[in-house]
Structure formats: C-alpha cells, structure tokens
C-alpha cells in the first residue's frame, strides 16, 4: 500500500503541497479519491418519504416526487425487520439515512426515524 507523501511548504505561497514521488500515490490523489467517496457511494445521504411496501428487511420508500426507491436494512441499523410492517400499515412518513449499495440497484438504510412526529 502506498504511504502518504511528506508535506512540503509551497515555494511561492507557503501553502502545503505534496512532494511528488514516482510510484507513490500523491496526497492530492488520495484527497480527491476520498472526496469522491464521500460524495459518492460511501457518503451518508438522507431521504424522506412514505413506506409503501415491506418484505422482510427490504422496504420501498415513495418520495415526494412520487418516485419509489428500494432500501435494504443494514446490519448496523437499530431497527429489526419486524418493525417495518407497522410503518407500512400506517403509511408512515419517515426519514432514512442511507448509502448506496455496491453491485445492487438498491440503497442501504442505516437509520430510520419518523418524520411525521415531533422529535422527542
């Protein structure tokens, strides 16, 4: 694995820039990779909508634009699959914190909260 290159003072402005080394991943490249990850599949995003279909730990959320999204409950979600059907029966409005799933057309729900109830 490539190690982080040492930081050198910038000759012109005194800012820190990565030292260029052959065959080593530059810090700029690593930072840009991390940025891409944080705005890409690994970034936690939020969506609000109504739970319209539930099957085991999988549920469909219909957003305000009428578009339906398929979510899978993640292993780190505090919710259990049997807590999902009541949300569907009540057509509950929920807020889901999610990430994208790799190699699946689905989103991974890490936490869920009722959006139609005042926060406790």
């Amino acid at each position: 694995m490539a190690t982080l290159p040492a930081l050198l003072p910038h000759p012109a402005g005194g800012r820190l820039v990565p030292e260029r080394r052959p065959h080593a991943t530059s810090r700029a490249a690593q930072v840009s990779f991390l940025r891409m990850q944080l705005s890409g599949p690994l970034a936690m995003k939020t969506m609000e909508g109504v739970v319209t279909i539930v099957q085991e730990g999988r549920f469909q959320l219909t957003d305000d634009g009428g578009v339906s999204h398929l979510f899978l409950l993640s292993h780190d979600a505090a919710l259990e699959p049997e807590q999902l059907p009541p949300l569907q029966h009540r057509q509950a409005r929920v807020r889901v914190h999610y990430t994208a799933a790799r190699n699946l057309i689905a989103l991974v729900a890490h936490s869920l909260e009722r959006a139609d109830m005042p926060a406790a």
Binding site: I53, V54, Q55, E56, G57, R58, F59, Q60, L70, L72, L73, S74, H75, E80, P81, E82, A101, N103, L104, I105, A106, V108
Partner: protein, 298 residues
C-alpha cells in the same frame, strides 16, 4: 389444464379486492395449511424468458444484483444468491470439438434452460444446521428463514447441498426462496409459477405434482425424448443421502451436473458420526502421544 368452474365467477378485469383462494383459478389448487406444496419444474418447457426471476424480485422486493453482463451467454444473474431466489440457467450444448450438431434430438437440445430455486428439501440440511431455529418448516411443508431470528452465523450455507442459501453482506442474514410463504397464506399461487408463460414451473400439492411429472416423463419418452427423467421425486436421482424427496423437483434431459445440480446430494448430518469419531480418535491419539513423551522424562 381445463378452466376452473370458479373462473366464470370472476369475469372482471379490474379487481378491487384479492380473489379468495385465487390459486384455484391460476393453478387448480386450493392452498390449505397441513398439506405439502411444491414446484415441478419441467425444463423441456423453459424458454429462458426470466419472467420467473422478475416476478420473484417484484413480489419479494429484491434488488437487481450483478449489474452488468457476465459474458456468459444471456445469463446475467449468474447464480442463486441472497438477492436472486430464482435463477434461470442457460446451458449451451455443443457437439464434438465445440461445434453444434446439425441434427438435434427433440426438446431443448441446443440450449438447456432451467429455472433453479430452493428445493424445500423434505429433510432439509439447512434447517438441521440452524442453531437459532430461524429456519423452520411452515404449515405448507416448505422451508423458510425467519429474518428476525437469524443471527447470521452462516451454518446453513455449507449445510445446503445445492448451494442455495446465502448470507447478505448488507444485513448479515441468510436469505433464500420462501416459496412465497406470504402468498400461500393469502391463497395465492407463488409469483414465479404464476408468471411462467409456458408452465415450465408448476405449483401444486406435492403428490399431485409427482403424478403429473411421471405422466410427463412417459409422454416425453413416447415422443422420442428417452433421456427425460425426474430429479428430486421420491426414489429418483437428487432424492438421495437421506434427503427424502425435494418439494421443488425437476424434469431434466441431461446429467444433473450439466445443470449445476449434485448427482447424489446428502445431508450434512449424515457425516457427523464419522467426523466426530475421527476428531475424538485424533484427540485420544494426541493425548496418548503426549503421555508417552512426558512420562519418559525425569
């Protein structure tokens, strides 16, 4: 299959409610707890349309997986998995030196297509291996994983001789076909069988399906497909190694391995006494060796 007499009672094309005991109309069977149900998959009828895969994903809210093209024919799903509970195998049959024969025998001889699924084994090894009781036998004689009880230990995965049950990396739980447990409770035929346009997948009461399958094999033999046989019906290949029989059984025309099925599947539990014996013998041998070495010292 003749039209069910009840069909005339339901002439409307838009329904405002579920038809009671709908499976009577679509599969000619009333679903009642306490009876055995299963699938008879006649691979000679499969056209590889994948309607069964899609219907399964639609009903069970399963995501599309393995996005992209595998490069292996039209089979882009690849295999059964935690997110694909039906998988249509596409097997191209080549002749000598990989060149297809000009003359082909009847019934799916150029391409073999087979919609694979959990077999809902009579003596299910996955169920026997499950330490939490998450895998259970339902009132319809099918095998289902209860998601709230599964702790993701994965013991069922190597226990299944067909490589069916799979752990999801996302929720850490075991997943497989439920034979549409929720639909059966509502009197509905499973989604895959209902959607199959050629009736390659037939759902029904097990005994009736087994009789129907025997007749189909005899009919195919008469028509010149002498290689047709049943896999998983009582006393046939697939129903080996104390599995009893498979509630989801198949009509095949090639050796089981061609369809990625084991020739003689067995219960993992059958190997426990010999493995335990070998383990205990090894421990006793090591203890004796240690005693011999250390007792010789001053």
């Amino acid at each position: 299959m003749d039209m069910h007499p009840r069909a005339s009672e339901e002439p409307q094309s838009r329904l405002d409610k579920v038809i009671p005991n709908e499976a009577e109309l679509t599969a000619g069977v009333r679903i009642e707890p306490g009876k055995s149900y299963g699938f008879f998959t006649d691979t000679t009828l499969c056209i590889g349309c994948k309607a069964c895969e899609v219907a399964c994903k639609e009903w069970n809210n399963l995501p599309a997986d393995n996005v992209g093209i595998t490069g292996h024919s039209y089979d882009n799903t690849g295999a059964l998995s935690a997110n694909s509970w039906r998988h249509v195998n596409f097997i191209e049959q080549a002749g000598a030196c990989g060149v297809r024969e000009n003359a082909q025998s009847p019934f799916q001889s150029g391409w073999l297509m087979m919609s694979d699924v959990c077999k809902h084994c009579h003596n299910a090894p996955c169920l026997e291996a499950c330490p939490t009781g998450a895998l259970f036998r339902t009132e319809f004689d099918t095998v289902v994983v209860q998601q709230d009880i599964c702790n993701g230990c994965g013991y069922c995965v190597p226990a299944c001789p067909f490589g069916v049950v799979d752990l999801s990396e996302l929720d850490g739980k075991a997943h497989k076909c439920t034979l549409c447990y929720d639909r059966l409770k509502g009197g509905l035929e499973p989604a895959c069988a209902k959607s199959c346009p050629t009736d390659s997948i037939q759902f029904g009461e097990l005994e009736e399906l087994q009789e129907r399958a025997e007749k189909r094999v005899a009919q195919l033999h008469e028509l010149g497909a002498g290689n047709a046989y049943l896999y998983g019906a009582p006393g046939s290949p697939g129903a080996t190694g104390d599995l009893g029989h498979l509630n989801a059984f198949f009509l095949l025309t090639e050796r089981p391995e061609t369809y990625n099925l084991p020739t003689a599947p067995t219960r993992a539990a059958n190997r426990v006494p010999s493995s335990l014996g070998a383990g205990l013998t090894a421990v006793a041998g090591l203890a004796l060796a240690a005693f011999a070495i250390f007792s010789g010292r001053d």
